[in-house]
Symmetry: C2
Subunit: 212 residues, 2 copies
DNA sequence: CGGTCTCTTGATTGTTGTCAAAGGCGGTGG
DNA sequence: CCACCGCCTTTGACAACAATCAAGAGACCG
């Protein structure tokens, strides 16, 4: 993948692209590798070119608080660069990944004045603000029951694909709690399941009423 | 205050300003009035010109979850406009306020392509992402003790100005819990207070170790 | 000095996480 | 084809944390 194929940069001149080329490098990460840790200094601007990256925070007891998963092409952690703060979360490759790293201190702020670049940045930042706003809603407003009800209604496919433990970590609860809630929902006839990877909604309205 | 005095717009041409003038209006709010509710459709882009605005969410039990306070000049709730989603939080005037309301559907997206305008938007969005990131850290990572310790170290002045109930609502805990934690900190000789509006730090390091 | 608001303290509850054990399910190798 | 093993899920008992409810103490103001 070339720089000019990155939407963010596709309106830049050849000269600009060469400038960016000079201050950037591509790095490969294996699944499980950490791209940056929460608390690290943001020296590079990171752009995910290939693979899937998980973003999470770590609480005082060492538990991971899942925030988001990124797919290409995405800016990752740009907030830290823009605001000149330490990375507020950890980015981990969950598949083989290719990341473009741009030396942010040398990154000409004038690029940000390019109308198309800044438009893309606005889109990226806006998307992230929305993500964080959703996280806040999910974690601070919804009860555990409500979180699960929402997940069932809006992402039923996850239950067919993932194990309980994985689902639980997506919504930051324990597998035990998830199991108990699913059992409760089954008792109330909101859902039904013959085997573990076959969950069906019986009463969508009741589920929705838990989080609306 | 004229449009051209708003940093966001000060690089726009006279013609552009007139265009915006046509699709905007100023509205005054009294202290306590609601500027928009969580769940409202974002018809207008809101810019705070005068006064102080509190942003909060409401949980299922009717409690307010405090998010942020805005002072002039600030875009408020622009995320909802940009992402075309319902307002994720409620904005309430906590003093007399003056708000510029721009009809977003008529707001020429080309303004966003103006380098200086988009630069300001990036700054605003970046700031908000940081605010939300901080909220997530404060509410999901820090324990109650840690929140209070941080508040004491970083904003001691609040304790001299506000009542316990007000401080408690800033960090989304109950006054009772705040009182208990302050008592505990006093017992441990982390802080000391002769009267209620006179709090002094005795052991900054111990306080910091609670949240670092 | 009385009254009201605020703060403190205790007892209790609700919610979810933790720890532990048992049950079920599927896959593998004999 | 079956027995066994390992992982996942379920269930129970318990702990931790902060909210709630209630009562009493204290501070501030007219």
């Amino acid at each position: 993948m070339y720089l000019k194929d990155i939407t963010l940069f596709n309106s830049l001149s050849k000269k600009n692209l060469e400038e960016i080329e000079k201050i950037s490098s591509k790095e490969d990460f294996k699944a499980g590798n950490i791209i940056f840790y929460e608390g690290d200094k943001p020296i590079f601007l990171h752009i995910l070119l290939e693979g899937v990256v998980k973003l999470y925070k770590t609480d005082s007891k060492g538990r991971q608080i899942y925030i988001h998963q990124f797919t290409p092409v995405s800016l990752i952690g740009e907030l830290a660069n823009f605001e000149n703060i330490l990375f507020p979360a950890t980015a981990e490759a969950i598949t083989k990944c290719k990341i473009l790293k741009i030396e942010y201190s040398k990154f000409d702020n004038n690029f940000l004045r390019n109308p198309n670049v800044s438009f893309e940045i606005i889109k990226s930042l806006s998307k992230k603000t929305k993500i964080l706003s959703n996280i806040i809603h999910q974690e601070m407003i919804l009860s555990t029951d409500a979180k699960i009800a929402k997940l069932i209604v809006e992402h039923l496919e996850l239950f067919k694909q993932l194990k309980n433990g994985q689902i639980a970590s997506l919504v930051n609860i324990t597998p035990e709690t998830l199991s108990r809630i699913l059992t409760k929902f089954k008792k109330k006839r909101y859902i039904e399941s013959t085997n573990s990877h076959n969950l069906a909604i019986l009463d969508k309205k009741s589920l929705e009423s838990l989080y609306r």
